[in-house]
Structures are given as structure tokens and as C-alpha cells.
């Protein structure tokens, strides 16, 4: 009896999730091929959010097309990458990815690298911000550099996972300040506010994260910004850049799409056109504005070159920080 109830309730759950996942309700297959978007992370994270936003945006411009998001979580996205690489020549799959995956491939010594997949487009980017607690004696970036040089171990740096974007920024900053990147006293935190908590409690010297995570607390005066990793000041936050403060560090945490290896030109073009059409649509523009993303759309050879240069850069700094296992 319980089993029957469970079965019924499972059916309910499945139909509820199916109904919500299908949102606009576009089941009619009318010629256009189905598209599957892989989010190589668990539901709820940044890649998942980007994938689901893209799903909705594509549906809004092509209501007849079937679009489905699926999650392949694990190991900084490299599990998903390996799965994508095995799907050779399939023109109906996109994988959301970004800078974090570039680092994870290096750090986990992933058997499959990003050189194998077909680059499609860069979509958005977010700059990183370096903050101190309000009570901190460090007022400017110059104060930080001076204290850091005096004793690197005394400056504890809070951020996300080891080898992730925040850690890479810390390494690049140390390098720019002529400090051995291996000396950085980096305190890795799991996502979801742990690092923020350490900063609000004044337990660590500085914190590094995406601007969005700290913005509200900078406005309320609980944290103070020392600099952002953008090339120039940006309107969404009142902060100098790291470059102005004398550290030549520039880094954007970007996200984009790649497709399986071995795509012919027609398939690559059709995916690129679809993503370009999605990017030009109103639904995507609205979502970008709502989420505070920076639109950094780029396709074709430009994105392919960018992807290659990011791999070289990240590989270099991760090795210099002694992070490759």
C-alpha cells in the first residue's frame, strides 16, 4: 500500500518537474531538431542557471524547438567534459562551461581537455572583486601590498575552491606584487557564503569573489573594496580597479558554450547561428540584465583563440602556485 502511494507520488513529482521544465509547453516537433544543453554541475549553481536561462531564451525565439537541460555534475565540470567528448559529431548538444573548467582540467589532470571540443560562443562574464572587512586596517591596495610583502603568511585570503577563479586571482595578484604565488596563504571555502561569513566575522585579511556575491555588503558598509579585476571602472559598483592600485591583474570569470568534437562545418554553423539568435533575442537580454551579468558575446575564431589563450594563462598560474597534483 505504501509502495503504491510512493509510486503515485513519484508520478506526481515527475509530472510537476516535467511541467515546469517544459514551461512554455512546446511539445510539437515541427521539423526543427531538438537541442540538449548540458550543465556540467549540480542544479542550482552558475552553470546550471546559465543553461536554464538559455533554455528559456531559445524557447522564446523558437517555440517549436525542443530544448532540454541535463546535469552532469562532478569534479569542476570535467566529468561532463569527458561525456561531451565521447559524443563525437553530435550537433544537437551544447555544454555550458567557463573559466572554472579551464582550471579544473589542469588541476585534476583530466584525460579530456578543452582543446578537443568545438568552441561555439562566449556568453557572459563577471569580474572579481577584492575586499577587506570594514574593521580591517588595510585601507587601500597599496596598504595590502605592503603588508603582504612584509609577511605573506600573515595575509589570509578567503575565497572559493582551491584552484578556482578566486584562487587564480590571488595568485595573479601575488605575482604582480613580486610575491611568490606559492606563498599565498589561501583559505579555500566551499561555495554558498562560507567565505563571506569569514569576512563579516573579521576572521581573514582579504576576500576574493565575484562582484555579485559581495556587492550588497559593500553597499551596506560591512566590507570595503580594494579593487576589481576589470580593465576599467564599471557602473554597477563603486570601486577602483586593481590596475589603478598598481597591480596589473585583469581577469573575467566568463561562461560560454562548447559542442562535442568532430562537428562538420554545417553543424557548427547551425549551432552558432542558433546561439547568436538567442543572444539577440529580448528574453536573453532581460535575463542578462536581471542577473547582473556582463554581456561578452563572442563566436567563431575569436572565441576559439580566446579559449586557447585562457588555457595557456591558467595552466601557467596554476603551475606557479604549485596546484597541479
Amino acid at each position: 500500500m505504501r509502495l503504491r502511494r510512493l509510486a503515485v507520488l513519484t508520478a506526481v513529482i515527475a509530472s510537476v518537474t516535467a511541467a515546469t521544465a517544459c514551461g512554455a509547453g512546446s511539445d510539437t516537433a515541427s521539423g526543427t531538431s531538438a537541442l540538449r544543453i548540458m550543465a556540467p554541475a549540480a542544479p542550482g549553481g552558475g552553470w546550471d542557471q546559465t543553461s536554464r536561462t538559455a533554455e528559456q531564451a531559445i524557447k522564446s525565439i523558437e517555440p517549436a524547438r525542443k530544448v532540454e537541460v541535463f546535469n552532469v555534475p562532478g569534479a569542476g565540470g570535467t566529468i561532463g567534459l569527458a561525456q561531451l567528448a565521447g559524443d563525437k559529431g553530435n550537433g544537437g548538444v551544447l555544454m555550458t562551461m567557463g573559466l572554472v573548467m579551464v582550471g579544473a582540467v589542469e588541476q585534476n589532470k583530466s584525460a579530456v581537455t578543452l582543446a578537443e571540443v568545438t568552441p561555439i560562443a562566449r556568453l557572459t562574464e563577471e569580474y572579481e572583486i577584492v575586499v577587506v572587512p570594514a574593521e580591517s586596517p588595510l585601507q587601500t591596495l597599496a596598504d595590502l601590498v605592503a603588508a603582504w610583502k612584509a609577511d605573506p603568511t600573515r595575509i589570509s585570503v578567503a575565497g572559493g575552491s582551491a584552484g578556482g577563479t578566486d584562487h587564480i586571482v590571488a595568485g595573479l595578484m601575488a605575482k604582480a606584487a613580486d610575491i611568490d604565488p606559492k606563498q599565498v596563504n589561501y583559505i579555500a571555502h566551499s561555495g554558498g557564503g562560507e567565505a563571506l561569513n569569514a569576512l563579516l566575522g573579521n576572521k581573514v585579511s582579504i576576500g576574493i569573489s565575484g562582484i555579485g556575491e559581495f556587492a550588497e555588503h559593500i553597499k551596506s558598509g560591512k566590507l570595503r573594496s580594494l579593487g576589481i579585476t576589470a580593465p576599467a571602472r564599471i557602473p554597477s559598483i563603486e570601486s577602483p580597479t586593481l590596475k589603478e592600485g598598481g597591480l596589473d591583474v585583469e581577469l573575467a570569470n566568463w561562461r560560454g558554450f562548447v559542442a562535442p568534437p568532430g562537428l562538420d562545418e554545417a553543424a557548427t554553423k547551425s549551432l552558432t547561428d542558433l546561439v547568436t539568435k538567442m543572444h539577440d533575442g529580448q528574453a536573453w537580454k532581460d535575463a542578462v540584465a536581471k542577473n547582473g551579468w556582463v554581456d561578452s558575446f563572442q563566436t567563431g575564431q575569436l572565441f576559439a583563440d580566446f579559449l586557447t589563450s585562457e588555457q595557456t594563462r591558467v595552466k601557467g598560474i596554476i603551475a606557479e602556485m604549485g596546484l597541479v597534483s
Binding site: M1, R2, L3, V16, G44, A162, G192, G193, E216
Partner: protein, 498 residues
Amino acid sequence: MDSLNLLLDGFATALTPVNLLYALVGVTLGTLVGVLPGIGPAMTVALLLPITFNVPPASAFIMFAGIYYGGMYGGSTTSILLNTPGESSSMITALEGNKMARRGRAAQALATAAIGSFVAGTIATGLLVVAAPLVVEFAISFGPEDYFALAILAFTAVSSVLSRSVVRGLASLVLGLAIGLVGIDQQTGQARLTLGIPQLLDGIDVVIVAVGLFALGEALYVASRLRHAPPEIVPVGRAWMGRADWRRSWRPWLRGTALGFPFGALPGGGAEIPTFLSYAAEKRLARGTAKEEFGKGAIEGVAGPEAANNASAAGTLVPLLTLGLPTSATAAIMLAAFQQYGLQPGPQLFDHNPALVWGMVASLFIGNTMLLVLNLPLAPVWARVLRIPRPYLYAGIVLFAALGVYALNNSWVDLIVLYLLGLLGFAMRRFGLPVAPAVIGLILGPMAEIQLRRALAIGAGDVSTLVASPVAGVLLVLSALALLTPLLRKLLRKVLAR
């Protein structure tokens, strides 16, 4: 009493028929995913996140909060009836709850869990209204050294659940600690004990371990005994809680609430540790019949942890709403939902969106009441599950355990790990090793390790940082007392006897 007026407005928001329906859907879904092993509230809310595109914010959050509370409650049902907890936070409930069920007191165990959850949820939500700013201050002041001391206290407190044989308890604990080491080391990014399998880089999810050791291990063990012994006759017993049950339950409910609420507010506190501490406290405080019953099905051991579990869910909302700090997986996904609506939880949220915040708080009260109404009449019905012939029952458990674990990561490697752990769980039962300490080790071990290393790294290697904060000092002294008191008492008795 400004808050009170706002809360009344909140009830006005939450009590519209549409929102009541969302609350009902939320608690029903939540109870369901709590019952199913593996699938938790975090994943459910994440999968439902796209509804934020179509549903007004108040309704969506009312439903999400319902899922969260429902999930916290639902996990206890299978723990009690079948010794197969659906979530790690209801693992402790299985210790006494399942023993009660085997003695024919399943309905009472389910009832004290339901009412305890209701009491704890209601009180904790009330505390959320009045004490949020204070609790948040306390939570933020917690540094790594304090967490480390807390983990040590939890370790010493739960040493009392290590079973009668200390050696076996410790062996099980060490197994859990070893499993906890698998995966990428958070501090250095290096892989440990992954055997070159990329799917193990993120470690083994505690849900897989709990489901494997408890649910699969139990199913295999039952199967192995099926033809050896005549079926164990489970007495049906009375349907409702008697006067004595009420008398024995209300204090554990309150103590569980007092433990659970602040722990929920701590980032990294989690729902599990307060259940361990509550169980340990109830066991120590037990006198008379209760003391004899501990280990054989004491109602206190169900009432306390269940209350702690639910109170921690409300505690989680304190830092989420006031600071935008998520302290559990579900809260992190709810934060993403806030951002979908262009809302940033934080100090300004209460001022800028009072209707939303207070509507959600009010819906917590309503959701809690709904859970009670939904589950209390069902307690005797659920209890009859025990009459299903065991081959069918346990086949169903194995099926749902596998489904739930596969749903975690859509990874077949997880299934292999689950079956291996199931065999381990069977072996542990066969050779009399308790299962709970392994899961406790798995939860507390990595926490103690990472916080210890963080504290030392921040203090540039200075060991005295570990006792520098008053909180850490007090917690470590308490741990020392918990360890030494029995010894001292023995010593004292010897001295007096002379």
C-alpha cells in the same frame, strides 16, 4: 510591536487560497522527497527553480519553504519504520525510533516526531521573528577555531552512541573517517583516495553512505535471515500517544529546539550535529524507565533529535534572510531563487520587501500546521507498513534507494559505490558493528579537519589560536569534562569507598 503587525500582514499574504495551495503542494512534495532516500529538499527546490519564471515571488517562496520543512519531517518516517533514513539528518532518529517500531510503538514514535517537528518548527519560526539579528551576530562571530572545538564536542558527545563495545564503535567511526577523506582536499586541491576514478573527486556523498549502510545493509541483512528464523512478530500496539508519552516528550522537544535553532543559523553547523547533540543530551539526562529504555526504543531519543532537525531548518533562514548567507544546500538554492526575482537577501530585504519576507515567515507557521494535520492522522496508517510481507517491502526499499542515489548525480559510479557500501553495511550488521558511528565520522571528520587547518592557516601555524576565542575555549572545556567526568566519578567512588 512593529514586527507583529508586519507578521499579521504576512498572514494576510500567505492565507490567500492560491498561496495556501502552494504551501500544500510544497509540504506534500517535501514530505515525499524526505521519505525517498537520496532525493532531498535541495535537489527538489533546484529542479523547481524554473517556476520562478512564471509564479509570483511570494507563492514560490511559500512553496519552497514548505518543501524544506516537509523534507526535514519526511525523512523520519522511513527511519522509524524501516531503519532506513532518507536523509542523514534523520539518521539518529532511526536509533531509537526503529527500536520503538519493533516493539509495536511505531505510531507513538511517528506521532512524537510529527508533534515535535511542529513544536520545534513553530517555536523556531517565532525566534526567527524576534531574535534574528541577535542570532546572526552570534553566527558571524564563529570562526574556524570555534567550529573545530564544536566538532570535538560533538565527537565526545556522541561517543555515548558508539554502542556497548567501544572497540566496535571506534572501528565503525574510523571507517566513516576514512570514507570522509575520499575526494579533492578542499584546502590544497589535491586528490585523496580517489583511485584515479574522476567520479570520486568530489568525494562520496553522505547520502550515499547513509542509504548504503542503513537501507541496503538492512535489506541484505533481513534477506539473509528470512529463512533462518521465524518472522519477527511486530506487535501492533496502541494507535496514539499516551499520557506518559506526552510527559516524556515535551522536554526533549524544547531542548531539541534550543539546540537546533542556533546550529541551523551557523554556516557549516548543519542539521546533523544538533541531532547528535540532542540524542546525547537526552541519553545523559534520562532517568528511571527512560534510562533503561535507551537502546531499546526510548521515546526521548526520537522526540529530541526530530525537534532539533526541524528547528535547524528555521535557523537556516536567519542568515539567509538577514545577510544573504546560505548555510545549507537548500538555502543556497533558495538564494539563487531570490536572485532570479532580482531580490538580494540582506539587511535591506526586510525594509524593501516586507510583504515577501513576512509572507514567507507566516507561511512557515502555516506549512508547519499543515504538516501536522497531514501527518498525525497518518501515523497509525504508516505504522501498518510493517505488516507488508518483507520480501516486497525490502525489494521496494532497494529500488527506491537505487533510484534516489542515481538521481543525485546521474552517475552509475554512485550506484556501484552504493552497492559496495550496502555489502559493507551487511557485513557490519553480521559482525555486530554499529552503523551510526560510521556516518557520524563521515560528517564530523571532514568538518573537524578543514576547520582545524583553516584556523591554523589563518593563525600562521600558531597552535594557541585554537583556544584564543572564548567560545572555542568553553567548548573544549566541555568536551574535556564529557570525557573525564565518568573517570573522575569512578575515582571519587573508589576514594569514598575506602
